[in-house]
């Protein structure tokens, strides 16, 4: 603590940020919670309905469940691409001698581009007529049978809208993991190598355990970002065809701003927050148990 600070000076520095944060983040969270117990279309009087919105969501809404499972699929694909891709590239990068800065920059490039641009780009990549990059590539490598309009085929659309999000942020996570890998003590690796450890053993027994704290942070980041994914699916398919690429976030958005059912939309929003908190809790719990074992 600063020697001659005053109570007033603490307030002078703390109140403005708290005010903005309260207005933009904290108060809306409470308001959502409040609204979730009401039925309201924004025009007529608000009507208190108790837990009815929650009951409707959990027991009577097929689209909600459909969106929930789609969101889990979306999350899984994002996590595999982001964390798996990041770990693979980061590990390979540590054994390279030249060009690492260049690769880091190139790899991070997609993270700089707006989701609208990415959505446009991938709509073209997936397109069948005129033939897009993906279908042309499949044709060339002899997998022409797989060619299809990726975004209008209900079997492929969820994967197709998930991949761009994964593609976009691998670079960010790769950077973080790469930096962590650099901090693994060289003596430790050297000693293990002298004892005859294979590359795989070196990775599983020394490197990975060493970067565990960073891995947890990255997993939590990627999970919470995956659960709030919205822009790309919304822009590419708007949840369609049917509900085959509807996520909880896009469903909430449509409920609020297309059907103007503010109360029910808030209920779904509250669920998304709970889902994020549960996910973070689960990750910490599982990793803690693993560390204890």
């Amino acid at each position: 603590m600063l020697p001659n600070r005053s109570r007033l000076s603490v307030l002078v520095f703390l109140l403005p940020p708290l005010l903005l944060y309260g207005v933009a983040v904290l108060f809306p969270i409470l308001q959502s919670l409040f609204l979730s117990f009401f039925s309201w279309n924004g025009i007529s009087d608000m009507q208190f309905v108790g837990l009815a919105n929650y009951v409707r969501m959990l027991t009577g809404d097929d689209i909600f469940w459909r969106s929930f499972f789609n969101a889990l699929g979306y999350l899984a694909i994002c996590l595999v691409l982001q964390l798996g891709g990041a770990l693979l590239v980061a590990s390979l990068l540590t054994s390279m001698r030249r060009g690492r800065e260049l690769i880091k920059t190139l790899y991070l490039l997609p993270a700089v581009i707006s989701t609208v641009a990415i959505a446009f780009l991938f709509v073209r990549i997936y397109s069948l007529e005129p033939v897009g990059l993906l279908n042309q590539l499949l044709h060339w490598i002899g997998l022409g049978a797989l060619e299809r309009p990726w975004l209008s085929d209900i079997n492929s659309v969820l994967a197709a809208v998930s991949a761009p999000e994964g593609w976009r942020f691998t670079g960010l996570y790769m950077l973080i993991i790469y930096a962590a890998l650099l901090s693994v003590p060289q003596e430790l690796e050297e000693a293990a190598r002298l004892d005859g450890a294979s590359r795989w053993q070196l990775f599983t027994k020394i490197r990975f355990p060493h970067i565990m704290p960073v891995w947890i942070t990255t997993t939590i980041m990627a999970t919470t970002y995956g659960l709030r994914g919205f822009d790309i699916p919304y822009l590419m398919t708007n949840g369609g065809p049917g509900q085959s690429s509807e996520l909880l976030t896009t469903y909430m958005y449509k409920t609020a701003f297309t059907s103007t059912d503010f109360g029910y939309a808030s209920t779904i929003a509250v669920f998304i927050v709970v889902e994020c908190l549960v996910a973070v809790g689960l990750i910490l719990f599982m990793l803690k148990r693993k560390a204890d074992a």
Binding site: P3, L172, A180, C276
Partner: protein, 303 residues
């Protein structure tokens, strides 16, 4: 992304592996593993970067070439007509200006308020600081979607819908926790003695903030601004929800104008517009990416 931009001069905790002398064997004979790594990395980088190169190449194609040709082929003729059409179709200039205003406004709030909060939490200290930290942590975990409906309702009741602040306030609010975290971690490195010496000379908390903390934080400011600018410049969800009028549309919304009725889209012009709109940020990123990468990395190593 968890952490402070370390001052550029601070030495790395561990030596760069490439700097340490490698075993002679590996240098003279490239191993199979080494070659394989390079091939895999090259392939992955192509997957990451080729779509962007393709975007640019397509923006130079003629419409006919685009509609009929092989998507991987180089354009038969290079044309800049698409760019001309891109500027005719939308309000590109206005969109860029709006994005600029929103990004500047939000960054100003984020840097100033983030620094103030971190100063109060980390340097001044007070009884409930732990509780306040937890409050701010909430903002990192909860998704922005929670704020859409309440803010929409609040804004419409105080006539704030369809204004710059309607975008700036939530963007700054949700970015604040991470910035406070970055600044707090950096402030830890400023030695206590500096403050104590200044205090003995009679400087109060305000002068210490202005004369010591602020000038020392330049590196952290760069990291905070760069990371946040990427998210703010590209924000779609707040702009899409709170802004309706054409004159206030930012780049992400402006791009949507290129999608024509019935899904018929002028793709080559759209791609030209995309190229124009991503250029400013891309340039800043390429110039400053060392600072940003270093900030992210030094944060990560501390977990």
């Amino acid at each position: 992304m968890t952490a402070p931009a370390a001052p550029v001069t601070r030495p790395r905790a561990t030596p760069d592996p490439s700097a340490s002398p490698a075993p002679v064997r590996r240098r003279s004979k490239p191993s199979l593993h080494g070659t394989l790594s390079k091939v895999i990395i090259a392939l992955i980088v192509i997957v990451q970067v080729y779509p962007l190169a393709w975007l640019f190449i397509t923006s130079l194609r003629t419409e006919h070439d685009f509609a009929t040709g092989d998507p991987f082929a180089l354009p038969k003729a290079v044309t800049f007509d698409n760019y001309a059409r891109a500027f005719e179709t939308g309000n590109l200039g206005m969109n860029i200006l709006n994005s600029f205003i929103v990004t500047m406004g939000a960054n100003l709030l984020i840097v100033l308020l983030g620094m103030m909060a971190a100063y109060a939490l980390q340097v001044l200290g007070f009884r409930f600081s732990k509780f306040v930290r937890i409050l701010f942590l909430i903002g990192i975990i909860v998704p922005v979607q929670i704020a859409l409906v309440p803010l929409f309702i609040d804004y419409s009741s105080i006539n704030l819908l369809d204004t710059y602040p309607s975008m700036i306030i939530p963007l700054a609010g949700f970015a604040l926790p991470m910035s406070i975290y970055l600044f707090s971690s950096f402030f830890e490195y400023i030695p206590r003695e500096t403050y104590e010496a200044a205090s003995l000379d009679g400087a109060g908390p305000y002068r210490i903030f202005g004369l010591i903390t602020l000038p020392l934080s330049v590196n952290t400011v760069v990291t905070v601004v760069l990371v946040n600018s990427i998210f703010i410049w590209n924000d779609f969800i707040f702009a899409n929800t709170f802004v309706l009028s054409e004159e206030l549309k930012t780049i992400p919304l402006g791009l949507q104008n290129y999608i024509g009725a019935m899904g018929k889209t002028d793709w080559t012009a759209t791609f030209a517009a995309v190229c124009v709109t991503i250029t400013p940020l891309l340039l800043v990123f390429l110039v400053l990416n060392k600072a940003m990468i270093q900030g992210l990395e030094s944060g990560a190593t501390k977990g």
